[in-house]
Amino acid sequence: MHSVLRTLLLLPAFCFAHFAMGQLISFSVKNEPLQKVFLLIEQQSGYNFIYSAEQLAHAKPITLAVTDESLSSTLSRCFSGQPLRYAIDNKHILVIEKPTPPDRIIKGQVVNESSDPVAGVSVSIKGTNLVTSSDAQGNFELKDAPDMVTLIVSGAEMETVEYALGTSTRPITLKIERRLGVLSETVIKGYYETSRKLNTGTVGIVKSKEIERQPVSNPLAALQGRVTGLFITQSNGVSGSQFSVLIRGRNSLQSGVEPLYVVDGIIFNGEALSQRSSIAVNSPFNTLVPEDIESVQVLKDGDATALYGSRGGNGVILIQTKKGKVSKPQLDVSFSQGWGKVTRTMDYLDTQEYVAMRREAFKNDGITPTVANSPDLFLWDTTRYTNWKKELIGGTTRTSNVQLRYSGGSKLTSYSVSSNYYRESALFPGKFKDERVVVAASLSTRSENNKLQFSLTGNYGSETNDLPIQDASNSIRLQPNAPLPFDGDNKLVWKENGNLFDNPFAYILRTYSSTQDRLTANTWISYMPFSGFSVKASGGINRLNLDETSLTPIASQDPSIAPTGKAAFASNDLHSWIVELQAEYTTTILKDIRIKALAGSSWQSSTTAGTIQAGSGYTSDVLLNTVSGAATVTNTDSYSDYKYHGLFARLELNRKDKLILNLTGRTDGSSRFGPGNRYGNFGAVGVGWIFSDETFFKKLQRIMNFGKFRLSYGITGNDQIGNYQYYDLYSTTRNPFQNLPALRPSRLFNPAYNWEQKYNWDLGFEAGFLKSNILLNVTYFRSVSGNQILQYSLPGQTGFPSILSNFPGKVENKGWEIDITTTNIKRSKFTWRSSFNITIPKNTLLAFPGLETSSYASTYVVGQPVSIRKLYDFIAIDSLTGVYKFRDANRDGSINSNDRTAIRHTLPRFYGGFGNDLSFGNFELSIFFQFVKQDGVDPVIALFLTQGRQQNEPEIILDRWQKPGDVARYQRFSTGSGAAFTAASQAANSTAAITDASYIRLKNASLSYKLPVTWISRAGMRSATLFVQGQNLLTITDYIGADPENQSTSAIPPLRMLSFGARVTF
């Protein structure tokens, strides 16, 4: 303050002095004390310096040459860099000590549009050489800042922005707008991270924001249609059901094709441990909470997956859960309530139509209906009508979801704890439900000097699913005039007028309940002894336990057979651990080539042990829940061990962020192979060239601001063949013999099989246009999987159906993956973004030596996809006889399996999704469609049976042949014998059974409204959002059956869900 005042006082004199400085000065000094220079100036100018010796104590020696310069110029050059300044008063030059610098520190944080911290942005002070860059939390700090500050914020993927800070000293938040926001997003490739811009591999990313707005309980459901190359189908709409996940097609003829799942660095078992379930429920993913997920990364090509070596062949899905961020502690609460109904079903005949169908069938067969052959017509009321579809699967599920999360973090430590409760009632009649509780916690901390980092993540989920023993859809085809299920005393009806009734409610009294517990915990610690080098050790456990109880009470069985109760108790326990060590080194060579090297080792062990106790002969339903109440108990157990060891390394060479070369390699050993065949080598090379940053491209950058080519080639493997295949073993028979154990041979000795190998090629082009308002990503991929491990069928006379062996068969998967995202409108109050992705896959069996003479001659055809079916070639319905007619391909006069020469498959021809996200003020609307082009099965023909039997049929069968000359979709009704029966059974294996099952589905729509801060701040809320979300809302399809996704008549289709809720942050 003092100095400022003094400056002000001196100002008039300073102005005046300016006029007096007319003389020109010349001299040259080298490393002379300042006093000497003062003397020289005094001599040439006639001005006097006024100073004290102490003042010059801190002055630096000076080297300067001036030639005919003005006094003021000379002075300013002399004083530059000195802790002194000067003022001219008349003929005196006052030497003034500069005030001790106020040590001004400027602190702040760089964040992006969505307030997430941005690392690596350069922050400098204008007019100085003070510069720093933001750290991982976006924080930066500049010391010794001058009084007046203007910050310049710049980065590779943003417009350079200036912030006039003035003299303010408060910490500031710099909100930047990334030019290529998406491109700097972190891409996690397992053992290392990179950015989208610099990534040399093919990785699909789904972020929490996309997942959160989908009212689903299984995270896999939220990925449908969102990632190219990832094809997910849900086989069943029952809560907790499993999903089939395929990345870039089927690579293996017979080995497992599931991708590798890794949750927070731990191998996650994605397969249900079920031993008893007749409905495919118990997906372990159901114990993960979609809202807990920060991001899902889908690694597809060789470059991205090779570090997972032998297990990367089917792709890798990495799931990162949410961690704490540097922020004030915050509590997020969200809750929602939803309702679900089946999406698309078929209508079935009513009684009148059903009876007419039966009579027509008898008439066609030339059979007179009698009480013996058609009790349903004679003994049951032919006017009574029950709509079984409505009774059995017409219900509504209710879902409730509550999620709490408390998180925060300081510069050194961040934390997050969350818990979730989810409940979904089943839509079957009866009190069935699926309940889930999950708690998750994460903590990470680092030392003040950044050398030591530590992280702990734990996630525990428990799910209890109560269901009937079978999907009630199985009973939809009951005769519509069947008796009412309950009599006047509310007891189950078993027959009417002597004709038995397969009461569907009996199956509802038979229950299946399962409890699934999953614990996933992971810690890592890393240490950086010197800059650029760090070592990391991590360890994790995954425990999954599934207990299942299926009960068949006496009350659920026909009392006239004097039934006894049955119960089965199964328990399956998976215990796995993983330990990994890795070291990373970063350095720069040849001036501008940045090198990142990584090497590591991984050990994994997984043990599964299961037991089943099946009790029978229960005489009372009261005792049914305990195995000790059974008259006889049968015990079964299972056990398997799996061990795995890998060494991996990676080397990245990066030239100026323009050209990147990424080499990865892995040596893997797996206990699934016999001694001598356990180790295999895998690896990949990836290259990325960001040509848009090259100088020759500068002119085009206005239009195309980003452009990259990437190319990768890699070898990955597959060991999903089951354990112990090389041992020759005896196992115990299911039941003992004379109270002693009995053994049966269970496997042939077979040490001679080896890894399946997959060769991947990927060529990608990525571009951003018009300041990244249009982002395009096009990838062409091709992979060939060889050394196929097949259960090679043996003739039955060997006593074993098959033996595992390698086969030089080759399976090719190739195709195009295209992603486009656009920002159509961007105003402060209104934004509109669109996205579109499409995958066009092609699967081909390239080679299969000896196919014709092998047991696979009827299964595969070289040049065709691996999941083809060889079918009878359907010609038409014989207009005279009214039955399906097929082409006699070999012209031998009869239709038999040799005539199955037509080839069809039901693989997707292309699939993808498109969506629009709009925000208008506080409203946000998001709509996402999923589409699949594929063939499917005709629900009527695929059943192998004639229509006209004692079971109900979908209404579509009314389009049938009735009289000579008719042209119809389905053949004549028949009770099931003779030509119509044969034709029906052949039709199921004919081209007539294949029909279009393409669809476009409104997968998700969500609308949210953010309450204005002024309304909620009084309640202590930081933000509050109300939302409506819908899933599977609308399906556009020509598919003739029920749902084109699961195409089942005996499993409920995926549900249409609607949910309402709110999300509040305190």
Binding site: A372, K495, G498, L500, D558, S560, T564, K566, A599, A609, A614, S616, G617, T632, T634, Y639, D641, Y644, H645, L647, A649, T667, G669, S670, S671, P675, R678, N681, Y727, D728, L729, Y730, S731, T732, T733, R734, N735, F737, Q738, L740, P741, A742, L743, R744, P745, F749, L794, P795, G796, Q797, T798, G799, F800, I803, T853, S855, N896, G976, S977, S985
Partner: protein, 450 residues
């Protein structure tokens, strides 16, 4: 590059150890099995156990059901693809069932037996007494399996080792060679097996089981003298006697039983009882007798206990009730494979063929008298043989395919079946080799007519 890794992570050698696994806790390596008496015995018990574990296998109701339909012995109540057997018109649709139950399903046991025989040969951990007995049991079981294979399919590959690479390429061996092989197995087996049961549990084959099957083999081969001789040895044994009440013949360890299979499935006694018997007092049974068979029963025949009637949807139907337990956790019935009555009828037929008619009558009348029927006499040889055939048809109704095999071996299949089965062809005496197997082994050829 790789060398670099190894330097960095020296303990690769120990990692090899890390990957070595013990066999799973619930399974045993083959070599371990044959290092002790207990596990070696368990490996043979497992064969009997597996025979009874799955219904419709050749050793577990399959032969009874499908040859019953194929002959004139059984019908299936409701229309189904089993009608192909009833109509002697087996199509490819039925081949996988034939494969699973009768072809591969039988060779599975032959493999198990061959494996035990090979391993016991080199085993040092099994005591001689146990080894000899197990070897003899295995030879019996092997002959038992081949008996049904040749009678169903004709020539079949004669697999006598466990080497799958050799076995996979074997062509069919003539029936006569296989019969010689069976006779050798059975004779060797009978020479070693004990003649008594342990605790009267008739579930492990004894000497007499081997002899009883050998007698049948010789009857089928027309070796009448040997058939007479061997069956006489069985009949002479004090271990067996006819059960006077036919309703009790099929109880567990009945005195008539020479060899029974022990039920192993929970809540099931025999699968024949479990599958055939109607679930409730008012439902239909599955397999029923044709009326012609029921009508051939003489009025006072006590064996009518095996032919139970029921009115279902205003029709009278008859179904087999040799086994009376549909479901029960308590086992009172074992599955009868070989029984004394057959030995009397074998000897009767052999003696009739040897023109010892009065001896033949006396054996036949043992069976008739147990059934409460009058004794037969004064028939000529041809009529006597027909009377024996008829007696066998009733005595063994719905039992192990006796009827079908009798019609075949006596050459009367066409004469009996052609009039009642419209689709009969003379090539129908053999079932087709499952086409799946023809594809897997190009050295196999199909039977005529398929």
């Amino acid at each position: 590059m790789k060398k670099y890794f190894i330097l960095l992570f020296l303990p690769l050698v120990s990692c090899k150890k890390f990957l070595e696994l013990d066999p799973p806790n619930n399974q045993v390596t083959t070599d371990r099995v044959f290092q002790s008496d207990e596990t070696a015995i368990a490996s043979v018990s497992g064969i009997y156990s597996e025979m009874m574990a799955t219904p419709e296998l050749f050793a577990n109701s399959g032969v009874t059901f499908y040859t019953g339909l194929y002959a004139d012995e059984l019908q299936y109540y409701s229309p189904s693809d089993r009608d192909q057997f009833t109509n002697n018109a087996i199509t490819e649709g039925a081949h996988s069932g034939i494969d699973n139950n009768f072809w591969s399903g039988t060779y599975k046991f032959i493999y198990a037996v061959n494996l035990v025989l090979e391993k016991l040969e080199h085993s040092t951990g099994v005591t001689t007494l146990v080894r000899d007995r197990l070897v003899a049991e295995c030879k019996f079981v092997r002959a038992f399996c081949y008996f049904y294979l040749v009678n169903l399919f004709g020539d079949v590959p004669l697999v006598a080792s466990s080497d799958y690479e050799v076995n996979a390429k074997m062509p069919r061996t003539p029936v006569s060679t296989i019969y010689q092989f069976m006779k050798k197995d059975l004779s060797e087996s009978a020479a070693v097996l004990p003649s008594t049961f342990v605790n009267n549990e008739r579930v492990r084959p004894t000497k007499f089981a081997a002899l009883a099957l050998l007698a049948r083999v010789q009857l089928y081969l027309g070796e009448w003298t040997q058939a007479d001789e061997i069956s006489s040895q069985v009949i002479a044994s004090t271990s067996f006697s006819l059960v006077m009440n036919p309703a009790n013949v099929f109880l567990k360890n009945s005195t008539e039983a020479i060899w029974q299979l022990l039920p192993v499935s929970s809540n099931v006694n025999t699968y024949e009882g479990s599958i055939i018997l109607p679930a409730t007092a008012t439902t239909a049974p599955t397999y029923i007798f044709p009326l012609a068979l029921v009508n051939s029963l003489e009025g006072t025949d006590k064996r009518k206990a095996w032919f139970t009637s029921r009115v279902y949807l205003s029709q009278i139907i008859y179904y087999p009730t040799k086994y009376l337990v549909k479901q029960n956790a308590i086992v009172t019935e074992y599955y009868m494979v070989l029984r004394l009555a057959e030995q009397f009828l074998i000897r009767s037929e052999a003696r009739a063929q040897l023109d010892r008619l009065s001896d033949a009558f006396s054996d036949l009348n043992v069976i008739r008298s147990r059934a409460g029927l009058t004794a037969l006499s004064s028939l000529n040889k041809i009529d006597l043989l027909l009377a024996i055939e008829k007696e066998r048809r009733i005595e063994f109704a719905a039992e192990w395919g006796h009827r079908w095999f009798d019609l075949k071996r006596t050459g009367r299949a066409a004469a009996v079946l052609a009039p009642i089965k419209s689709g009969w062809q003379n090539t129908d005496v053999l079932w087709p080799i499952p086409y799946q197997q023809l594809r897997l082994n190009s050295f196999l050829n199909q039977n005529d007519g398929y």
